[in-house]
C-alpha cells in the first residue's frame, strides 16, 4: 500500500523518524503528540554504537549510516557535534574489555582507537590520571534530539500533519482522542515510549528511570562524550539501581552528566540519594567537576523490554497496529534504522538488504501474544 493513511502516536525521535520515512515512502502521515515531552526531551542525545548484542549492533550501524546522510542537512538547532565516544577503562580488566570491544567494532566495520593511559591523559587532561586507558569511537556524535525530531517532521517530502492531541484508545480502524474524536487510518504506529503502556497495557515494557544533571556554561573541560566501560554492565542490569559515569560536552559549553538506572521507580521526581551517588561516580572520573555549578537536574523514563532489544513491527494480534517501542536508552541512535524497518514493513516495499527485521519482531514475546489474545476477547 503505497498511499496509505498512517497515524503515528508520539512525536519523539522514534515517532518523528517513522513519520519521516513513511512520508518518503509516499504515505499521508498524521502525527499525534500531547507535547508533554518524553525520553527524547529528557535524554542526552548521544549517538553511540553499542556492539554487545548482534542485533542492537546491526540496528545501530544501519542507523549511523543514515545519521551520516542527515548530518549535512541538519539545521544548527540540532547541534550535531562530532565528539566521538571515549570509553574509559579504570583498570586492566576494563582495558582488556576495551580491547575486546575494539575487535568487535572492527568486525562490524566500525573504526575505533585504543588509547593507553598517557594517550588518554593527552586527549582528556581533566580526567583523573589513574585510569588504565580508553577506546575512542570517532564516528559517534551528539545531537539535540528534540530539534532533530522537529526537523524530521518539518522536512518530510510529503507534508506531515502534526496534531497536539492525546490518544486514549487505538481501535481497529484508527485512534480515539480525549475529546471522543475518532481519527481513521489504515495503519497506526505506536511510538510513544513508556507512555504506550496507557494505550497498550499488554506491552512488555518497563520504565528504567534515569537522572541527568546539566552544568552552567564552562570553558572547554572535556572534548569527547566520556563513558566508563562499567556503563555497559549498568545498562544491562535487569533489576535494582545502578550508576555509571557518563559526561557530554554540549556545544553551549555546558556539561551533561549521567547516568543512573532504576527499575523500582516510575516516579518522575528526583531521587536525591541516587543523584548523589551518580555525581560521586562522576567526581571519581572528573575531579574538577566538584566546584562546577550544576544548574538543573531532571529524570526520564527509558522504555525497556525484557531482552533489551526494541520492538519494531506489527502487533502480534492487531494487524493494523505497528509498534516502534522499547529502545531504552538508544532511541536517538537507532531511530533511523527503526524508521526504515517500519516504513518497509508497512508499505510492503520489501525488506532491507542491510538489516534483518527478525530480531525486533513483537511476537518474540510469548506473553504479549497470549495476554493480548485475552485482551482482544475481552474487548
Amino acid at each position: 500500500m503505497s498511499h496509505c493513511d498512517v497515524i503515528v502516536i508520539g512525536a519523539g525521535i522514534v515517532g518523528a523518524a517513522c513519520a519521516h520515512e513513511l512520508s518518503r515512502a509516499g504515505c499521508a502521515v498524521t502525527v499525534l503528540d500531547d507535547r508533554r515531552g518524553g525520553a527524547t526531551q529528557a535524554g542526552m542525545g548521544h549517538l553511540v554504537v553499542m556492539d554487545d548484542d548482534a542485533a542492537e549492533f546491526a540496528l545501530a550501524r544501519a542507523s549511523m549510516q543514515r545519521w551520516q546522510a542527515w548530518r549535512e542537512q541538519l539545521p544548527a538547532a540540532c547541534a550535531y557535534s562530532p565528539t566521538g565516544t571515549l570509553w574509559l577503562a579504570a583498570n586492566d580488566n576494563e582495558l582488556a574489555e576495551a580491547q575486546r570491544k575494539h575487535h568487535r567494532l572492527a568486525a562490524g566495520g566500525v573504526h575505533s582507537e585504543l588509547l593507553d593511559a598517557v594517550a588518554l591523559a593527552a586527549e582528556e587532561p581533566a580526567l583523573t590520571h589513574d585510569l588504565a586507558g580508553g577506546l575512542r569511537v570517532p564516528a559517534d556524535a551528539i545531537v539535540y534530539a528534540p530539534a532533530v525530531a522537529d526537523w524530521l517532521l518539518a522536512s518530510a517530502p510529503r507534508p506531515i500533519v502534526q496534531r497536539r492531541a492525546t490518544a486514549v484508545a487505538i481501535t481497529d480502524d484508527g485512534v480515539r482522542l480525549t475529546d471522543g474524536t475518532l481519527l481513521r487510518a489504515g495503519a497506526v504506529v505506536l511510538a510513544a515510549g513508556i507512555d504506550a503502556l496507557a494505550l497498550c497495557p499488554e506491552l512488555p515494557l518497563q520504565a528504567k528511570k534515569g537522572h541527568l544533571v546539566i552544568t552552567d556554561r564552562l570553558p572547554t573541560l572535556i572534548r569527547h562524550e566520556l563513558v566508563e566501560l562499567g556503563y555497559i554492565a549498568s545498562a544491562h542490569a535487569r533489576s535494582g539501581s545502578s550508576v555509571a559515569f557518563n559526561a557530554q560536552p554540549r556545544p553551549t559549553g555546558q556539561l551533561l552528566i549521567g547516568s543512573s538506572r532504576q527499575f523500582d521507580s516510575a516516579d518522575a521526581r528526583i531521587d536525591h540519594a541516587i543523584l548523589s551517588r551518580m555525581l560521586r561516580r562522576a567526581l571519581r572520573y572528573l575531579p574538577a567537576l566538584a566546584d562546577v555549578p550544576a544548574i538543573r537536574s531532571w529524570t526520564g523514563l527509558r522504555p525497556a523490554t525484557p531482552d533489551g532489544l526494541p520492538i519494531i513491527g506489527r502487533h502480534p494480534t492487531r494487524p493494523r497496529l505497528w509498534l516502534a517501542l522499547g529502545h531504552e536508552g538508544l532511541g536517538v541512535t537507532t531511530a533511523p534504522g527503526t524508521a526504515m524497518l517500519m516504513a518497509a514493513a508497512i508499505t510492503g516495499q520489501g525488506g532491507l538488504r542491510e538489516l534483518d527485521a527478525e530480531p525486533y519482531r513483537a511476537d518474540r514475546f510469548a506473553g504479549l501474544r497470549a495476554r493480548n489474545g485475552a485482551v482482544e476477547v475481552a474487548a
Binding site: R35, V213, R217, T252, S276, A288, D291
Partner: protein, 569 residues
C-alpha cells in the same frame, strides 16, 4: 539562640584586602563583593553568551548577572561579603582552561577559610553541628515575615531553624547598610529572638533542592547550600517566608551595565556600592521607587527624577486613601520626593557598553535624559518557587495559596509574607506571626498553649487592614499595558541565554519556547525572563524543576544517601 542572631557589632572602620583577577584591592568590612567590584573599577562582572558586558541587575541573588568565581567557586557578588584574602576572578574562563590543560582538580589549592563576616553567618562553633540537621520548624527567610514567625513560635520551646540566603537577617526591607547599624526595628526583633536558645539562624544559606519526598507527618528534607559543604535539614514543619523579587520588563537597552532594579540598586547601595555624584534616574512603579530615591539621595547621588508609570489621577486616589493606614501616611511624608512624576516611563536605555542615557515617555512627550544609572522596577513577583517545588498550590494573586492559619495545600507546610502575594512588610509580619503560631500548634507539642492563644482576632483584623492596603496598591499602581510592549524584536528577554523577543513570538507557550530557544535555561532558572514572559506574553509557567538554585556538584554529590533518607518520625 546562636550569637549570630544578635544585632551585629559595628566594625565598619576595619579594612579588608582581597584580590580581583590577581590585583589587590581594599574595602571596609561589611562591603558586598558587587560593591567592591564597582569600587575597583569593574563596571561589569561577566560576559554574556553573545559577548555583551553585564553587571548586577537585581542586587538580591536572583538574576545571576553578577556571578563571579570566588576562591574557585561560582558565587553571586551581590550576596557575598568581601572576606580578607578572598581571591575573585571575573575572567574565570581562563582559569578553567588552564585547569583542563593540567588535569589538576581546581579545588586542590583552595583554602577553606572560615568566613570572617562580621555578622550574619553561622558561628564557627556550629561547624560541629550534627549532620543532617533536625528541627521542629524550619523557617525559610529572615525578613519581616520570617522574623515575626520565629518570634511567635519561639516561646513554645520547639527547635527552630531560620535560614536566609542573604549575608545577614532582615530581608530586603530591613537590609542593613554596610555603613550604618541595623535599623532600630530590626535590632528590636533580633534582640527579642536572642532570648530564645531554641532558635538558630543560618545566614548565607539557600535551599538547593528537595532532598527526599515529604514524610507522612508533613516532614520535609531540604538540601541547603551554605556556601561550604552543604547539609540536609529535616524539618517537621516548614514555613516559607521567601519574600518577593522585582518584576523586570524588558525594554531596549535593559541589559546595559548601569541598568538595575529599583530595589536592586537600593540593595547594592546598602552593600556599599558608591553612587556619590552619579546621575541616577529612578523609574517604574510603586512606592518602592520612593524608598530607593531616598536611599540614593542619602548616599549622595544626583537624583534626576522618579518616573512613575501610573497616572496622576491614580496616584492622587492612592494618596487620598493613605489616612486609613496612619504609619503609611507618615512613611509617605518621610519619603516625599520633589522629583516624583506620574505618567512617565522608560522607553529605552541608550549606550554601547555602559548606560549613557534613557529615553523617557513623559506624558505626551519623549525626552532623552543623560544619566549614569537607571534604577527600574515595575513591581514585585512573589518567590513561590520553593513552595511549588514542595507541591504547594498557587492562589489567584500569583502567590502561594494559604488558608486562615497560613497553611498551604501541602500538609505541614505554611507560608507567610510576600510569597503568598504582594502585600507589604506590615502584612508580612502579621502573617508571619500567625503562621509561626499555627505551625507550632500543628506540631501538637505540650507547650503549644501559649502559641495557640496568640491566634486572636486582633491579628485577623490587622491582616484585613493590611490586605486592604495591598489591594489599594494593586489597584492604583496597575501597570499601563504600554509597558508590556516596550521590548522590540531584538530586545533580549532571557539574559542568561541571550534569547531575543523575536525568537519567543513564534511560540505559543513557555515549554515550547524553552525547548526550542533555550529561554529560561540559564542559571537564573527563568526567574527573570519567566516573570517577564508571563507579564508580556500571558504565558503560564510550569512549576519549577530541580535544582531550585545552581549548586556546586561537589555539594550535590556530598549529601550522602543516608543523609537524604526520610526522617524517622
Amino acid at each position: 539562640m546562636s550569637p549570630s542572631l544578635s544585632a551585629a557589632p559595628d566594625c565598619a572602620s576595619a579594612e579588608l584586602t582581597f584580590w580581583i583577577n590577581g590585583q589587590s584591592s581594599s574595602v571596609v568590612v561589611g562591603t558586598s563583593l558587587a560593591a567592591a567590584l564597582a569600587a575597583a573599577g569593574m563596571g561589569s562582572s561577566r560576559q554574556s553568551v553573545m559577548g555583551q558586558q553585564r553587571a548586577a541587575l537585581c542586587g538580591m541573588g536572583v538574576c545571576h548577572e553578577c556571578a563571579v568565581d570566588v576562591d574557585g567557586q561560582r558565587r553571586l557578588a551581590c550576596q557575598t561579603l568581601v572576606r580578607h584574602g578572598m581571591q575573585v576572578r571575573t575572567d574565570a574562563a581562563d582559569s578553567m582552561v588552564a585547569i583542563a590543560a593540567t588535569g589538576v582538580p581546581f579545588n586542590a589549592a583552595r583554602q577553606h577559610a572560615t568566613p570572617a563576616t562580621p555578622y550574619g553567618s553561622i558561628p564557627s562553633a556550629a561547624s560541629a553541628r550534627p549532620t543532617p540537621l533536625h528541627c521542629d520548624l524550619l523557617i525559610v527567610g529572615a525578613g519581616p515575615a520570617g522574623l515575626a514567625a520565629a518570634a511567635a513560635a519561639a516561646p513554645s520551646g520547639v527547635e527552630i531553624v531560620v535560614i536566609d540566603d542573604n549575608p545577614a537577617p532582615g530581608g530586603q526591607v530591613w537590609r542593613r547598610s554596610h555603613a550604618a547599624p541595623a535599623t532600630a526595628v530590626l535590632r528590636e526583633r533580633l534582640n527579642k529572638l536572642s532570648a530564645h536558645a531554641n532558635v538558630r539562624l543560618l545566614s548565607g544559606a539557600r535551599v538547593a533542592a528537595v532532598a527526599a519526598a515529604a514524610g507522612a507527618e508533613g516532614e520535609q528534607s531540604l538540601l541547603l547550600d551554605d556556601g561550604r559543604d552543604g547539609l540536609v535539614i529535616h524539618a517537621r514543619r516548614t514555613l516559607l517566608c521567601t519574600g518577593a523579587r522585582e518584576l523586570f520588563l524588558p525594554f531596549p537597552g535593559w541589559t546595559l551595565p548601569g541598568v538595575t532594579g529599583a530595589g536592586g540598586l537600593q540593595a547594592l547601595v546598602k552593600g556599599g556600592l558608591s553612587v556619590r555624584g552619579q546621575r541616577v534616574l529612578v523609574a517604574g512603579s510603586g512606592p518602592l521607587l520612593l524608598a530607593t530615591a531616598a536611599t540614593l539621595r542619602q548616599a549622595g547621588a544626583t537624583l534626576l527624577g522618579v518616573a512613575e508609570q501610573a497616572s496622576w489621577r491614580a496616584m492622587a486616589g492612592f494618596m487620598a486613601q493613605l489616612p486609613r493606614w496612619p504609619n503609611k501616611l507618615w512613611q509617605a511624608a518621610r519619603l516625599a520626593e520633589p522629583r516624583w512624576r506620574a505618567n512617565q516611563w522608560v522607553l529605552r536605555a541608550l549606550g554601547t557598553h555602559q548606560l549613557q542615557a534613557v529615553e523617557l515617555q513623559a506624558g505626551a512627550r519623549r525626552v532623552v535624559i543623560e544619566c549614569d544609572r537607571l534604577a527600574c522596577g515595575f513591581g514585585l513577583v512573589p518567590n513561590t518557587e520553593l513552595g511549588q517545588l514542595l507541591g504547594c498550590a498557587l492562589g489567584a494573586n500569583g502567590g502561594l495559596a494559604v488558608d486562615a492559619q497560613q497553611a498551604t495545600s501541602v500538609a505541614g507546610c505554611f507560608a507567610a509574607g510576600e510569597c503568598t502575594g504582594i502585600g507589604g512588610s506590615e502584612r508580612a509580619a502579621v502573617q508571619g506571626a500567625l503562621a509561626g503560631a499555627a505551625a507550632v500548634v500543628s506540631l501538637d507539642t505540650p507547650n503549644t498553649l501559649t502559641a495557640r492563644t496568640k491566634i486572636k482576632s486582633p491579628q485577623t483584623r490587622a491582616l484585613r487592614r493590611w490586605q486592604a492596603f495591598a489591594d489599594a496598591l494593586h489597584t492604583h499602581f496597575r501597570l499601563n499595558p504600554a509597558l508590556l510592549r516596550l521590548a522590540q524584536a531584538d530586545t533580549l528577554v532571557c539574559r542568561c541565554e541571550d534569547v531575543p523577543m523575536s525568537a519567543l513570538q513564534t511560540h505559543d507557550g513557555w515549554v515550547s519556547a524553552k525547548l526550542a530557544t533555550r529561554c529560561g535555561m540559564g542559571p537564573c532558572q527563568g526567574r527573570i525572563c519567566g516573570a517577564a514572559a508571563q507579564a508580556m506574553l500571558g504565558w503560564t509557567l510550569p512549576p519549577p524543576r530541580h535544582l531550585l538554585n545552581p549548586v556546586r556538584i561537589g555539594l550535590l554529590a556530598g549529601a550522602s544517601s543516608e543523609q537524604a533518607a526520610a526522617p524517622k518520625s
